[in-house]
């Protein structure tokens, strides 16, 4: 039987929703136990959140000052030690998980399965390659622990609230390096819903034209209570910061409603949105590839249409 360790992602003392999505993927393996590992400077509040996730057996905490920031070189040796006795170690396929999990896999001498979209068996998984243009089924060797990152857009967050996992402090005997130091995290301050977990997202592309013009995207987003995203072209042109980028090398998201405004729909962008519930495209070019994937398309001038849409919503 499988035993799965899920690595919790958190920031500012709060559990990231990606953790509950990784728990969903773990549950799909039908293991005898799913434990969540919280590595933090102060783990109690985060562990309490994790303990409420349904399906979690135990929450293990390693609270030490060195874990104040998610430095892969510091976390990986602890995770590798904590992995003893588990058949699988899962982390979210976010920049956090992508950074730390391969380091864990290498320490454990095992291959990593990146971006798990579906679980076909305890050692069989589907994952995307070529920017999602092909989906492969991969078999991992049962003789090794399976280290995997979970493509969060493919998994619902496991329900939270009814879980009642025990919380236990874990003592991990791992030498931690001092060669890597956190300096700062520059975050875009925003009251809008988080792009990665928002149920509605409004994204702007090159067609928006400038940083100033992007205001029209924020305005519609606020009207809808939506998160804001952008295409790579809009980020490269300096309209918005890079953490708003949606696509193959940005964030891969699955909101219920995705509105692509002035986005032509390069394959790299489409990779990031194809699990969205409903895709709306607004573009002045009726031939734009975004219309091939849009559920609802509207050809026209976004600067004229967006105010009209706001008005029609009422």
């Amino acid at each position: 039987m499988s035993k799965i360790l899920v690595i919790a992602e958190h920031l500012d003392g709060k559990l990231n929703p990606s953790t509950a999505r990784a728990v969903s993927a773990a549950a799909a393996v039908k293991p005898e136990a799913i434990d969540v590992l919280v590595l933090a400077a102060q783990a109690d509040a985060i562990a309490a959140e994790a303990a409420k996730i349904e399906g979690v057996s135990r929450v293990l905490t390693v609270a030490r000052a060195e874990n104040a920031h998610p430095l892969a070189a510091v976390l990986a040796p602890q995770i590798a030690k904590a992995a003893a006795g588990y058949t699988h170690v899962f982390g979210p396929s976010t920049t956090f998980g992508k950074d730390v999990m391969p380091r864990v896999a290498a320490l454990l001498g095992t291959a990593q399965v990146s971006d798990v979209m579906s679980v076909e068996g305890s050692h069989s998984f589907k994952r995307p390659i070529y920017a999602g243009n092909a989906i492969v089924t991969v078999e991992a060797e049962p003789s090794h622990v399976v280290v995997a990152t979970i493509r969060t857009a493919s998994w619902p967050a496991a329900a939270s609230g009814n879980g009642n996992a025990s919380v236990e402090a874990l003592s991990v005997d791992a030498a931690l390096p001092s060669h890597t130091r956190f300096v700062e995290l520059r975050q875009g301050k925003s009251d809008r819903p988080d792009l990665q977990s928002a149920s509605k997202v409004v994204s702007g592309g090159r067609g928006v034209g400038s940083k100033e013009n992007f205001e029209i995207i924020y305005k519609l987003a606020d009207k809808l209570g939506a998160g804001v995203g952008a295409s790579r072209a809009a980020v490269d042109a300096g309209y918005v910061p890079s953490d708003l980028q949606v696509g193959q090398t940005g964030k891969i998201i699955a909101p219920e409603l995705y509105m692509a405004i002035g986005i032509s729909g390069a394959i790299q962008h489409l990779t990031g949105i194809k699990d969205a519930g409903t895709i709306v495209a607004i573009n002045k070019d009726g031939e734009a590839p975004i219309f091939e994937v849009a559920d609802i398309g509207l050809v026209g001038d976004l600067f004229k249409l967006l105010p009209e849409i706001e008005q029609a919503i009422g």
Partner: protein, 249 residues
């Protein structure tokens, strides 16, 4: 003065529309254009800029692959690398094997910095740099959008989900490049001529004593599920009505 090792993988060109073979045994690669992994071009560009700033004296590009990979490594030399190392193997290697192979070269070459692309656009694994750093027991600075070197340390700005994270790492270290680290230069014709006389070391993978980490077996390839064709609406009012009908507004 330090040496910089750069991973330089060859992949299906990013403009090629990937087709899955009807029998599910792979993707069509016969006759398609192959190019440098875009992230590796960015990695190489960064190494060249550090050399041009006087912070490094030598840039070495490394490839792992079949005998015809040499022509691809010549492009890296034409871009400006001093020399190349071609680890020859007929079979594609998985990230753990690639990392173990790079570790052997690192032990031999003793670079002050290794720069790799954050991921290759074929398998999209995003693992090799992190794995090399782990095996080498050195720092990693992944998804870099800015690299500053001073006093034996690298200060690296990383593109993370929450924004931009800055970390400081002691050298030697592994850096992996993100898209906005730089814009790679174009190769000029005279540089292609010059590259012909630059050295390429050939090393058979089998002679390096690398324990294979190719633990994953790909059993099936499939085309992604297609989204069904949607509807076009003619104005804002129709759009809002359609969204209301779906319960989205």
């Amino acid at each position: 003065m330090m040496k910089i090792l750069v991973g330089y993988k060859r992949v299906v060109d990013y403009n090629v529309r990937i087709q899955v073979k009807p029998d599910g045994t792979g993707v069509v690669t016969d006759g398609v254009k192959l190019s440098a992994n875009p992230f590796d071009d960015i990695a190489l560009e960064e190494a060249l800029r550090l050399r041009e700033k006087g912070l490094a004296e030598e840039v070495v590009v490394v490839g792992i692959g079949p005998s015809d990979l040499t022509a691809h490594l010549r492009n890296g030399l034409a871009m400006g690398a001093n020399r190349a190392i071609h680890v020859v193997t007929a079979d594609a290697v998985q990230p753990l094997t690639a990392a173990r192979t790079l570790l052997k070269l690192v032990e031999k070459e003793q670079p002050g910095l290794v720069i790799l692309g954050k991921q290759a656009i074929d398998d999209d694994a995003n693992q090799t740099g992190q794995m090399l750093a782990a095996l080498w027991d050195r720092p990693q600075a992944t998804f870099a959008s800015k690299v500053e070197i001073a006093d034996g340390k690298a200060t690296v700005t990383r593109e993370v989900d929450a924004g931009l994270e800055v970390i400081s790492v002691d050298l030697p270290a592994v850096v992996t490049s993100d898209l906005r680290l730089n814009e790679p230069r174009f190769i000029k014709l005279p540089d292609i001529m010059k590259a012909k006389s630059k050295p390429i070391d050939l090393i058979e993978l089998a002679t390096l004593g690398v324990d294979s980490g190719d633990h994953l077996k790909t059993t099936h390839y499939a085309a992604p599920a297609k989204r069904s064709k949607g509807v076009m609406v003619k104005d804002a009012a129709e759009l809002v009505a359609a969204l209301k009908q779906k319960g989205l507004l």
